[in-house]
Amino acid sequence: MGAIEGIITGFQTAFSLQSIFFVMIGVFIGTFIGMLPGLGPISAIAVMIPITFGMDPTVALIMMAGVYYGAIFGGSTSSILLNAPGVSGTVATSFDGYPMAQRGEAGKALAIAAIASFVGGTVSVVLLMLLAPMLASVAISFSPAAYFALMLLGLTAISSLSEGSTVKALISAVAGFMVVTIGIDAQSGTQRFTFGNTNLLDGLDFLVIALGLFALAEVCTLILNRKDKSIQNAHKIGSLKLSKQDWKEMTGPMSRHSIIGFILGVLPGAGATIASFISYITEKRISKNPEEFGKGSVKGLAAPETSNNAATSGAFVPLLSLGIPGSGTTAVLLGAFLVLGVQPGPLLMTDQPEIFWGIIVSMYIGNIFLLILNLPLIPYIAKILMVPRPMLISLVIMFSMIGVYAISFNTFDLYMLLLFGVVGFLMRLFSFPAPPFILAFILGGMLEQSFRQSLTISNGSFSIFFQDPIAVSILAVAALSLFVPLISKLRKGNNNAKKKH
């Protein structure tokens, strides 16, 4: 069967009443789960596996896929309103979304996030539909050396993710690197920084760190500044309407990051979290007003929101066309496929086109539902900010704890959450920026593993990083992005100096 016929089958499957109904249920559950800080698509899909047993596999999978991208869609809400990321893909959303809400523009922030998510989701589904069969080869094109280069490129952003002291940003990043090494080292099997504690063998979950450093630290700051009148604006929701200026600012980032996000999503192991960070820092780099970032910039919000949703669709390329799960969530989704008797892989497209194309086409419907579901709800959801502050603070603490407990139902994680809450608060007190820490934590694990995999493969020769064309080109971009700003700064300095004479 040709691709066109396949796509037609997909449309028939996805537009059946049954499919539409279950897509709706899926994205609704997904948005809801995503909005709760800490609860993510992994637990939601895992809970659904036994429930869907015996259902028509196509419909069940369409629904579970809906939960997955719905959660990323909805995850931005708690990042924006409470600085408590709902899922790991929306941490970068809080960088500009939360300041915007604090400024009294929560409505606008949520609207931007919803629209950016919708655009990212829809554009990437178009790409997915047109290119999925060809993209399978892209998904496997990255060698360990290329992954190392990609992670390195992400890291060059540390300096741009921080304001003030670069030294403090670097210290913060080094701490992030150290924390990510906790647990069993995959390349040697030895334990690092576990202090003999069984609970640390798998390392720390990303959400423990993110909710500690962001949500709990924010709570501490709010309590300390409770008499400060300047944050009273935060009660306001503001208008949902976007001005012409806002639309203009969003167009650029939305079109760029639909593509960047999608490509990073296609690469196994990269995924929505890394995509959202890389998009955020790319947008800041190329922006004419980088100083606005981190203070409620429209672009800074639109970029990661577009990107994380685009990456989510991208992640379906390796999953459906190769049977390779690129992340924890897609691994659970792969498990769901197997339980339902569907084997994703290179033959899925020809053997079961109704499943392959049905899932892809259903994502159009899902994204439209998500937009319809999210936009009108914004004023109601944003009302959470009207809750008196003492109440709101307690809610944030409680939801963070529930979210962390739900990761593996282990009370040890709760102590870690509190510990990182304190660490995050102290970091703020002494003005160490938290984003470099979290960036190093996200990229550090893969950076180290791919570096050591490369060296094992090459028998310890560093030439492996310069033989792979993809790795070389990414390394070149990384070097440029590090040195070009430096040189232009030096030049400016020289010019200024000359003028003075």
Partner: protein, 336 residues
């Protein structure tokens, strides 16, 4: 406002309820010495949802319940962490409790030997083994080797020329199954280059040519073999298996390498379970293993039937441990 409070209270009580599973196992032995459960049974999957342990536990719980083999409720609980160590230390707290079971496979032997868990299989009560799965060694379709002997000959000449990839860390499943077969073929196993890659990257690395050999489970290779992307040089089963595609996989033994590696999967109970409860579960698992419903599930997931009762299972596990110990000693990875 009140609504918020209510929601808050609700979630709080959910968390409390989840924490409050106390230990209140009272013995219920009948006069004839037999035992029947009188409260719900908990099966722990010492890993996250969606993996092999989780699937086995859920499928077994489902069949036992649906077919009415066990009347009491059976709940599956995930205790994630440390490759199983977190779940094992949880079960170890329930000495003598006949209502706490868990699903186990070779990691319960490997992980304690790697020094990553204070509890090993000797600390628990093996009840019954249910299924067996086997490892497969795959290379790219266009690779120069057509069987295991060609691969191992090259590795004997120049061990540095071949890189093996697997999901797990050195000293764990994917690594050990390859090392065990390679050793029997006469390869110097201390020189094998092994890379661990998670999140589906191991298959990616095989397909893009970064590595040469992929050590994994049989089921993971089937789709790629069908699509002519990879070929399986050998599997670790004692004899050929049935089933589409799988039947074409040659065993190591038929290629003259007299060695196997079984990825067995069965059920254990808490430490020090009494004879009556052991007999009860042994019986129920036998009934399960022989049932039509479970045979269907085995087929669906490509598992092989491999029932062993309590005594046989215990002896098998001890033997497995000795075998692995020798390998880990050779590799310098024995940290027990």
């Amino acid at each position: 406002m009140k609504k918020m409070l209510l929601i808050a209270l609700f979630f709080f009580s959910v968390v409390l309820a989840a924490c409050g599973n106390g230990n209140n196992a009272d013995e219920s032995e009948a006069s004839d010495g037999s035992w029947e459960p009188e409260e719900s049974i908990e099966i722990v999957a010492p890993a996250g949802a969606g993996g092999g342990w989780d699937t086995t536990a859920r499928m077994v719980a489902k069949v036992l319940g649906e077919e009415g083999m066990i009347e009491e409720n059976i709940g599956v609980v995930n205790k994630t962490g440390g490759g199983g160590a977190v779940g094992w230390s949880y079960i170890a707290n329930y000495e003598g409790n006949p209502y706490k079971l868990f699903v186990a496979s070779p990691p319960i032997i490997l992980i304690p030997l790697n020094g990553q868990s204070e509890y090993g299989h000797e600390d628990f009560t093996p009840l019954a083994n249910l299924i067996a799965d086997y490892g497969a060694f795959a290379v790219r379709e266009d690779a120069e080797w057509d069987d295991l002997n060609e691969l191992f000959e090259d590795m004997k000449d120049d061990p540095d020329s071949v890189t093996v990839v697997g999901e797990s860390a050195p000293g764990s499943m994917d690594h050990i199954q390859f090392v065990q077969i390679a050793k029997a073929a006469g390869v110097d196993i201390t020189k094998i280059r092994y890379v661990s890659a998670q999140d589906g990257e191991s298959l990616t690395q095989l397909l893009n040519g970064s590595v040469d050999v992929y050590s994994t489970g049989m089921a993971e290779t089937v789709e790629q073999v069908k699509a002519d992307n990879i070929k399986v040089l050998g599997i670790t089963a004692p004899e050929r298996l049935e089933g589409e595609v799988i039947e074409d996989f040659p065993t190591a033994i038929e290629q003259g390498i007299d060695e196997t590696f079984v990825n067995w999967r069965g059920f254990f109970g808490a430490p020090g379970m009494d004879e009556a409860s052991i007999a009860y579960y042994e019986d129920k698992f036998k009934e399960l293993s022989d049932s039509e419903a479970f045979a269907e599930i085995r087929d669906q997931f490509g598992w092989d039937e491999e029932y062993m009762g309590h005594e046989e299972y215990k002896a098998f596990l001890d033997e497995q441990k000795e075998q692995v110990q020798v390998l880990l000693d050779d590799l310098g990875l024995n940290n027990e």
